[in-house]
Subunit: 223 residues, 4 copies
């Protein structure tokens, strides 16, 4: 039977700080975007990880980023089988309903989902921390096809987990292209797909060069 | 065929602002939580909506909030059928892997997912904006059982969409309690479930009183 | 730089409950055993696990149990090399200083230390949750020699982790016998060694029959 | 050669009392925390002394306290030299694996370990009760650096052993801060360190005010 605990004080204090400091600066954005509807240009597919918040990393204002967050920032391949596909539904909502211009798949370092996948791959019969659950093992099995996209550059494979985090971003972008609408929109230059990876240890942002397939530290725009 | 577009300049500028202004203040948090692992106390189930970013609304530091975001902040009922359940997997990861203490389902005003559900319910044969897609219609059908939880208070039902947004938060909390581990942990006071709703027009935060089932504007903590 | 946080409220409340309810019943024991010194008859080597507190499981009064708790209730073999051996020092203190009559090694189900050992054995190169630390990997490597004591009874090996938990208790008792003083005292019937295993799920206590090497549910004493 | 003595009757009776009286009240906690894993918020570093059981003193439920117990509740300084460090391994397990929020070092009055240290210091060539052992003398030599932290307040130094017991708690907290992960987590307010001292004669609990470095009787929380 459920009790009725108080709302967490830490969150109430955080909200009070937002209300007193940031809200006054953004109140017209909130008001206008409430009336006119949201118009984000960018969709982010990010991870639930508490250290990788897209709005923080991109210093985003209210209304800028439409954000999907699941474990390990995965995009399943297009598979309209009538089941409940939360990520695919959100992608569809952003692309068709909100008409976003960019989709950024953003991975990050020390991802617990990728780590759990590696652990389960290395010891499939093992009672790893996360494997006994009902859902997480199945979900992270979506990472498996990304193994084929691990780069053979020694500089990249030296860190096996990071190499797979990179590869998983590449695979998610491939999977976005299995959505017919996205593939078609990309062909006529109406939508752009991007990959990024955030180093939660140093705060560095890496971006994917799709011509070469390589990640490198983001250059700062001039001016 | 994929081109290689430049990474969006707006995001690079935003990242540069983060890197130059906020990162220096948080660099030790990032570094420590990279080494020691994340330790969030709170999981948020929020909406992808660009105007309802949990880290912004709760003024959260890196590492504080484990955040799931899907369209309309839905929690499907527990259903371990071997399919890919992104939201359920993320809930499991947060509860069992990260041992979060609180789960907050946060709805918000003018939710496009709830709006699409109402449109499809009112005009089932209609070709509403979002219905022709392959996934979104199925996903938002998860809202239907929430209708039974709409409150009959005239003050609440005066705004039919908001009333359903409130009800959907109540239903998501009910569905969280269909996860055996969560229900069990709640019974022994090891986890708390909460509901909230953010008014994107005014910036007001409402919290759910589970004893009465009513939402009201959050009181500010003292001190 | 250290702040000066308040002492955790939960602990202060727990202490107040002890002081108001149990202390009055035990105050003479505390007072006498403070003056006369402690005289425990039993030493427990238990695990740090929060679900396996010896005083709780054995309903012990103050002064009854001298308790060593380390990860996975391990006893290293006798090795007087001049290093800091916390467990061996405590064993020595109990046997020689306090003259305990019994030593009970108490394992328990779902032991995180045994689980981590199994994970590291199955995937030695893996970045398992606990392996990157500086100490835990080395400590749990003390479990390895217990593998030779896993029983070949199918009823026992069906649960591989529990089988190793049992075997580790057997090994800890073997290691206690590598301490010359303990071995000598046991030979003249001045000290007894015992093994037990607590099922944290059901609350059942298993005891080791050293004649057969098997664990079975503890029989209740009559009268 | 090992005999097969019966399991001590006193322990079986104590277990029967636990099983018949307390287990029914806590069976859901045991069951849930077996399935979901332990989630203790607090780690206690306590002494093996039979009169200073943390679960008793803090009236703790199963799953609340992760408890390390060694002679004199010592924390060695961080020293990752590849040896078997049971206490350091347990600290690491609690901080990194279980993500505990508080670490409490709890000393107590009339500590046999501190007493033995004082005896060996005062009469180094003496054959004190405990000195001839192979391990205890070395272990309690870890107390020596605490002498520099004895307070010069006459009220405190009047009881020389208690003064050193207090100082040893202070030193253990200092040593916890030599663990890089703990120091870092404390700096970002993700972990709290506390000191306490239990008077086994009267049952009074003292807590350390780290701002002043002084111990005083714990105030009871209100409400």
């Amino acid at each position: 039977m459920a009790k009725a605990p108080d709302f967490p004080t830490r969150l109430l204090r955080g909200y009070a700080a937002f209300r007193d400091q940031r809200l006054p600066l953004e109140s017209s954005r909130y008001k206008v975007l409430a009336e006119a509807g949201q118009r984000p240009r960018t969709m982010i597919v990010g991870c639930c990880d508490s250290r990788a918040a897209p709005e923080t990393i991109f210093d985003a204002a209210p209304g800028e980023l439409f954000v999907i967050r699941n474990v390990a920032n995965l995009v399943p391949p297009y598979d309209p089988d009538g089941e409940y596909h939360g990520t695919s539904a959100a992608i569809e909502f952003g692309v068709m309903g909100l008409k976003v211009r960019n989709i950024v798949v953003m991975g990050h370092g020390r991802c617990g989902g990728v780590q759990a996948y590696i652990a389960s791959r290395n010891a499939p019969s093992d009672s790893a921390d996360l494997s006994p659950g009902d859902f997480i093992g199945k979900w992270i099995s979506l990472i498996a096809p990304a193994e084929a996209l691990v780069c053979d550059d020694p500089a990249e494979t030296a860190d096996a987990q990071r190499a797979l985090e990179f590869a998983s971003v590449r695979k998610a972008i491939e999977n976005l292209r299995t959505f017919p609408t996205i593939r078609s929109l990309e062909e006529i230059d109406e939508i752009e797909l991007h990959g990024a990876w955030f180093d939660i240890s140093t705060g560095e942002l890496y971006v994917l060069d799709q011509a070469t397939g390589r990640f490198s530290v983001a250059a700062t725009p001039i001016g």
